[in-house]
């Protein structure tokens, strides 16, 4: 087994003169759940956009399973087994749950080019299976997503990511728009992923949630990685100090507590 599922060396992204991400050295061990935290503009989302192929990096290297990769687009990243749950959901509102799960990778009975005949029963069965595995409860999966609550929709997106991710799930603020109960449900699903050994990168502003859920917390500050701390060896105050730069040792020098 490889040492790291995901590793970046010197990952850098400049938007014109803006240095959004500078020399990011990041590692993710197999089965590990990590959080990426930081202020707005700290470079969290930029970091995710580079490793999911949404944008092209300015410099540095990305390794998946110790092999260097170059993702031209999000599809490349998906093919490599990286599934992302985006902030803006990326679900088709008018389709039912199986159609959303298999969006762009439909199962068909016989191929006829664009008119390939769908295997609706298999997609439905595998959807139920995937929902069961992630412990997602949807009253009626044949309903259009439009008629579901925000929490249910987020669960569908997460179930989709979990069902197809062979390497890594990335979640960008998965509970930002959810109520208390719905947030709890999503957090339970995340714990389920941990039990199944699926690695996770969680981007969140919610420190309580982060400390509850993940093994390791990576703090981004002003486009640089300010440090990484183990959940067990830190507190909310420590992390806030790192986020704000009150406690980070030398500016820009990663501190590993």
């Amino acid at each position: 087994m490889s040492q790291y599922i995901l590793e970046t060396r010197g990952l850098t992204k400049h938007y014109g003169g803006v240095h959004a991400l500078e020399d990011a050295n990041f590692t993710l061990a197999p089965g590990e759940h990590v959080a990426v935290v930081g202020d707005n503009g700290a470079g969290k989302s930029t970091f995710v956009r580079q490793i999911t192929g949404v944008e092209q990096k300015t410099g540095g290297q990305i390794f998946i399973d110790d092999k260097e990769v170059h993702f031209a687009d999000p599809l490349d990243a998906r093919k490599a087994g990286i599934e992302t749950v985006f902030q803006n959901l990326a679900l088709a509102d008018d389709l039912d749950v199986p159609s959303n799960l298999f969006l762009g990778r439909e199962i068909f009975r016989f191929p006829l080019g664009p008119f390939s005949w769908l295997d609706r029963r298999q997609m439905r069965d595998r959807t139920l299976e995937a929902l069961k595995k992630t412990a997602v409860k949807i009253p009626n999966i044949d309903n259009a997503i439009r008629n579901m609550s925000g929490g249910q929709r987020q669960c569908v997106a997460i179930a989709r990511a979990a069902a197809f991710a062979s390497k890594l799930v990335i979640m960008d603020e998965p509970t930002a728009a959810l109520g208390v109960q719905e947030t709890a449900q999503v957090e339970n699903i995340i714990r389920g992923l941990k039990n199944r050994g699926i690695p996770l990168i969680l981007i969140s502003h919610n420190l309580r949630q982060v400390l509850d859920l993940v093994d390791r917390i990576w703090v981004f500050r002003r486009g640089r990685i300010a440090g990484a701390v183990d959940r067990d060896k830190t507190s909310g105050n420590d992390i806030v100090s790192m986020i704000t730069g009150v406690k980070s040792g030398v500016e820009g020098e990663p501190t590993f507590v």
Binding site: R78, F86, G104, P139, I141
Partner: protein, 371 residues
């Protein structure tokens, strides 16, 4: 496999109930109500909308009226099948009426006969070597016209990223120009026997080995077959699934690896071909082609789709809905004629119906998002 989804407890939400009541059923009920209303209005004047009231004619129904309705549903309905798919992917097609005009002129000119009543064809476009061609030639040429026009629409929309409204507006103007230019505005007439037979024969009779007959209603038969074909395609194939996905959330579809551009080209091409099919049947029915053919058909087709519950914001609607919408549309037009409403009023009311259907759609949409 049993239904593990049901074990999630008593959350049999109202969403389940809503699903068991498809929108198409509402449209169908509206159709029934409208027919009944016109039946009553006709009875006031001692006539009937649906039924045969004359003693000197056989039959229970008013066949003449039903035939007119069927023809109108069929020709514009075939266009509406393509327009429906375009609207479902979140686009709009304003060019279908003009594609009908251009295709009518070009296809008909390859379907002319050389000798009319012993004299040379007075409306001849080509020399005698391009007359009396087998019927497949004008059909193939016509379909090719629609295909090219639709392909241009699709390529423009998919790869230059201009709004479909603008691209098809350009095609609407240009294709009408082609229709006028083709014969300098002259009508093209006198088709071969076989070309005229395309619409006026009895294809239902030959399809069912004489079991059923519907003479002169080939367009309706073709429309029914195409409607079934596309209903199946939209529900059971990847093409349909992806069409709804693109109309529903184009960004999500693209992120999911669907080749959105290629799909759009395909959809607009199919819409173009369906317009061409309508044009061929229309010229065959009328035995003549004029450059003005199909004017405003695009709006009629859009109206049919919208009345049938196809949402202009994309992602929602069905072929079945459009078929019912086409029936409602044609019944209303025919119904106005039956109660002898002035044609000018008919035009005005048509506009009201279109706007009303869109308002209804917006209202439905607001209601469904609020829940």
């Amino acid at each position: 496999m049993s239904q593990p989804a049901q074990d999630s407890g008593g959350q049999k939400s109202d969403a389940t109930a809503r699903r068991s009541w498809p929108n198409e059923l509402n449209v169908f009920m509206a159709l029934v109500v409208i027919v009944v209303v016109f039946e009553f209005l006709n009875r006031f004047n001692g006539g009937s909308f649906l039924f045969n009231m004359r003693d000197n004619m056989p039959g229970l129904f008013n066949e003449q009226r039903l035939n007119v309705i069927a023809l109108q549903v069929a020709i514009t309905g075939i266009i509406a099948l393509g327009v429906t798919q375009v609207i479902i992917i979140g686009g709009i097609d304003l060019s279908s009426g003009s594609i009908v005009g251009a295709t009518a002129m070009i296809a008909m000119s390859f379907g002319q006969t050389a000798i009319v009543n012993g004299n040379p064809n007075p409306k001849a476009i080509f020399g005698p070597e391009l007359m009396d061609l087998p019927v497949v030639v004008p059909i193939a040429v016509g379909v090719l016209c629609g295909l090219i026009a639709g392909l241009i629409n699709g390529l423009l929309i998919a790869y230059t990223r201009i709004p479909s409204f603008i691209a098809t507006l350009g095609m609407m103007v240009s294709a009408r120009g082609v229709a006028h230019w083709w014969s300098n505005g002259n009508p093209i007439s006198f088709p071969t026997q076989s070309y005229g037979g395309l619409s006026n024969g009895d294809v239902l009779g030959s399809l069912t080995f004489g079991l059923l007959h519907w003479s002169g209603q080939n367009p309706a038969v073709v429309f029914a077959l195409l409607a079934i074909l596309f209903q199946v395609i939209m529900v059971y194939t990847v093409y349909g699934k992806r069409s709804y996905a693109i109309g529903s959330n184009e960004a999500a579809a693209r992120m999911s690896g669907i080749n959105v551009s290629r799909h759009k080209v395909l959809v607009y091409t199919i819409a173009g071909i369906l317009s061409a099919v309508a044009a061929i049947l229309l010229t065959s029915k009328n035995l003549t082609a004029q450059a003005g053919m199909g004017v405003m058909y695009e709006l009629d087709a859009i109206a049919m789709a919208v009345i049938g519950g196809v949402s202009l914001s994309g992602g929602r609607g069905s072929i079945v809905g459009t078929v019912l919408g086409a029936m409602i549309f044609s019944v209303i037009i025919s119904g106005f004629t039956s109660i002898k409403l002035d044609p000018y009023y008919q035009e005005m009311v048509k506009g009201v119906i279109i706007v009303g259907a869109v308002i209804l759609d917006q209202w439905r949409q607001r209601r469904s998002t609020r829940s």
